[in-house]
Amino acid sequence: MVDTFRDVFGDPGLTIQDTTTAADVEAWDSLTHIDLIVALERRFRIKFTTGEVTNLRNVGDLVSLIKNKTR
């Protein structure tokens, strides 16, 4: 998943933790957020619902969500 983040944000050296939020990553704005969702969906072959996306607070939530959907 880190690869996808790095790819979407154009930062090969990016590191993320469970507590990372959009506020912590300069390139993560409302525009790139959409790209991130689409990229993750593609990468993991899943689809997020509207509710799932809007309830995300940080990267940790995202990781749990993806884990659930790919089980």
Binding site: G10, S30, L31, I34, V38, T50
Partner: protein, 592 residues
């Protein structure tokens, strides 16, 4: 060739665009009732690939009317070169659901709103407006019967698209971004992304957004004149099945029905392209004679020899031939498309002439048209009668040039033109054109009298004058009225007050023919002398010694450098001219 239109690749590229190869700028405003930031990013990348640095005004979300109503809005202060208006059917649907009256009343309101926005824009700028059409909704609440119910959303959107198109036909400023065409091409079931519309108000599934961007790029490039002007065609297995050199006219496949139907259809398609104003050229590896045979003899040949502006058939490499075609047509390589079934030839041209557009053609000829259609090569932002005549105009010009190079002497060439000249007194039919020539003629004009139409009419009726004009026509075209001479009856002499001629017809015998005519007239009236005058201006030095060639003698340098000339009629030797005199009523007409 066309970029890979992958959304992710393009968005990635949009983060670091290299503008160093961009030779021009374009200012594009984006107004939409949909999210437009992703579109803006895609546009910047795609334009850069065409050497254009795009400056985008990305309008605030759903603020089309606000921006357009305010004369001092950010939109107008941005001074756009073009304004893109992106209307989504998703937003329209929401307005439809809340419609106060019937569906058809809603339709009228929507069209009035759209036209109102165009009119407001037109008041403030002449920048082209690129208006989107609406993708048709996926739901049909009456099924196929929707079309029979004018109030249904489906019927309303269909009608709205048609009304937009019809309104655009009478407004040159309005160009179309046919979103419905793209959505239909992709397939409506793949086009929409409802989740993303709900969350982010994105226009369509993001993977297809590059197609919308590319569509806009195509329209803007055509505004900038970057259009295809010529399609260069191979012959064997491109315009017909088989090889003409081996199979002969009877062996190639080309027929309205049966084996050769794909090629028949392909030729028909190409003829439409030609009629639309794009030149066709042939570049074939064949003997010229063989290459021409189907054009001249095959009963099902759709393209005629006349449809081809430049016909090249030889055994040299195609890159060199295309270079020559380009030079002959005087256009850029990047306005040329090369179609050849042979991958070897396609790659050769792609490699040696990287500007030329060389589409990949599928193995199956029945799919040629579709492969070409995908590339949307023939975008334009205008169309006029002149376009439909382009091949004919080009062929007239080319024929003149061809003829010139194959004649040993000028005389032979002049002879071959079969020129006809009409010399006659001023008449009401031509009086306007006569007056025009008096106003416009600067270089080949002996006395530069600017005679008004009223004056010309007076001269026409005055028995003291012999005012004549000449019209010219030859094998290659009609030149219209090209020379005027006015002779005035004076006691001792016939005085030439005016002599002017169009520079288009220099050195082909017109002035000699007219002088023959004038001298004959003078002799017939018993004149001993003919006199003329040269009055110098900044532009007519070419005719300073005009009269000398006919044996006139310079009498005196008059006031301000003018020269008076006089001819002894009995000393005149008529000049040989290579043209035939025709009588009035011989239908020699006027050129544009």
């Amino acid at each position: 060739m066309a970029t890979q239109l992958d959304y992710f690749q393009l968005i990635k590229k949009s983060r670091k665009v290299d503008f160093s190869a961009c030779g021009e700028t374009f200012r594009l405003a984006l107004l939409g009732d949909t999210a437009t930031q992703q579109l803006a990013a895609l546009l910047i990348v795609l334009f850069a690939e065409h050497g254009i640095r795009l400056e985008v005004f990305d309008g605030p979300f759903d603020a089309i009317e606000l921006q357009v109503h305010d004369a001092n809005s950010d939109l107008f202060r941005f001074a756009p070169d073009a304004i893109v208006i992106l209307n989504s059917v998703q937003a329209l649907r929401m307005r439809y659901y809340r419609r106060p009256g019937s569906g058809t009343e809603f339709l009228d309101q929507e069209m009035r709103r759209i036209a109102g926005i165009w009119d407001l824009i037109r008041e403030r700028t002449s920048a082209p407006v690129i208006q989107s059409t609406f993708a048709l909704p996926i739901e049909r609440i009456f099924g196929n019967f929707d079309h029979k119910v004018a109030d249904s959303l489906y019927a309303v959107v269909t009608a709205l698209n048609l009304q937009i198109a019809e309104a655009a036909r009478t407004r040159a400023q309005i160009l179309l971004n046919d979103v419905e065409a793209i959505a239909s091409h992709v397939g409506r079931r793949h086009w929409f992304d409802n989740r993303f519309w709900n969350m982010y108000k994105t226009f369509c599934a993001l993977e297809h957004l590059p197609l919308v961007a590319q569509n806009i790029v195509d329209v803007v490039l055509s505004i900038r004149g970057r259009t295809v002007k010529c399609v260069v065609l191979d012959l064997d297995n491109t315009l017909w099945g088989g090889v003409i050199g081996d199979d002969g006219v009877n062996g190639i496949q080309l027929s309205a029905h049966g084996d050769g139907e794909s090629f028949y259809e392909f030729q028909s398609f190409l003829r439409e392209i030609q009629r639309r104003g794009i030149l066709l050229a042939v570049c074939s590896k064949n003997n010229l004679e063989n290459a021409l045979k189907p054009f001249l003899e095959h009963p099902e040949m759709v393209l005629r020899r006349d449809d081809i502006a430049v016909f090249t058939a030889n055994w040299e490499n195609k890159a060199d031939n295309i270079r020559r075609i380009r030079e002959t047509l005087n256009i850029g390589f990047d306005s040329m498309v090369f179609l050849d079934d042979n991958p070897f030839e396609r790659n050769l041209v792609r490699t040696l002439l990287p500007g030329v557009i060389v589409p990949e053609l599928p193995e199956e000829p029945a799919d040629y048209i579709r492969a070409i259609a995908e590339l949307n090569l023939f975008e334009t932002s205008s169309f006029s009668a002149e376009d439909t005549q382009r091949t004919e105009l080009y062929r007239q010009r080319a024929a003149r040039e061809e003829t010139q190079s194959s004649f040993a002497s000028v005389e032979e060439y002049l002879q071959s033109l079969e020129t006809e000249i009409l010399v006659t007194r001023f008449d009401t039919r031509r009086i306007t054109r006569i007056a025009q020539l008096f106003q416009r003629s600067n270089q080949f004009n002996l006395t530069t009298n600017r005679r008004s139409q009223a004056e010309c009419e007076e001269l026409m009726r005055d028995p003291g004058y012999y005012p004549i004009y000449a019209e010219l026509r030859d094998r290659l075209g009609d030149h219209g009225l090209i020379s005027i001479v006015i002779a005035q009856h004076q006691e001792q002499e016939l005085f030439l007050t005016d002599w002017l001629m169009s520079c288009r017809v220099l050195t082909r015998g017109v002035e000699q023919h007219l002088m023959n005519h004038i001298v004959e007239f003078a002799a017939g009236r018993g004149y001993r002398w003919i006199a003329g005058e040269y009055r110098p201006t900044a532009k007519n030095s070419m005719v300073k010694n005009f009269y000398a060639q006919f044996g006139f003698e310079a009498e005196s340098d008059g006031s301000q450098g003018s020269i008076r000339w006089r001819l002894d009629v009995s000393a005149y030797r008529p000049a040989t001219v290579f043209m035939r005199s025709v009588e009035a009523g011989g239908a020699v007409g006027e050129t544009a």
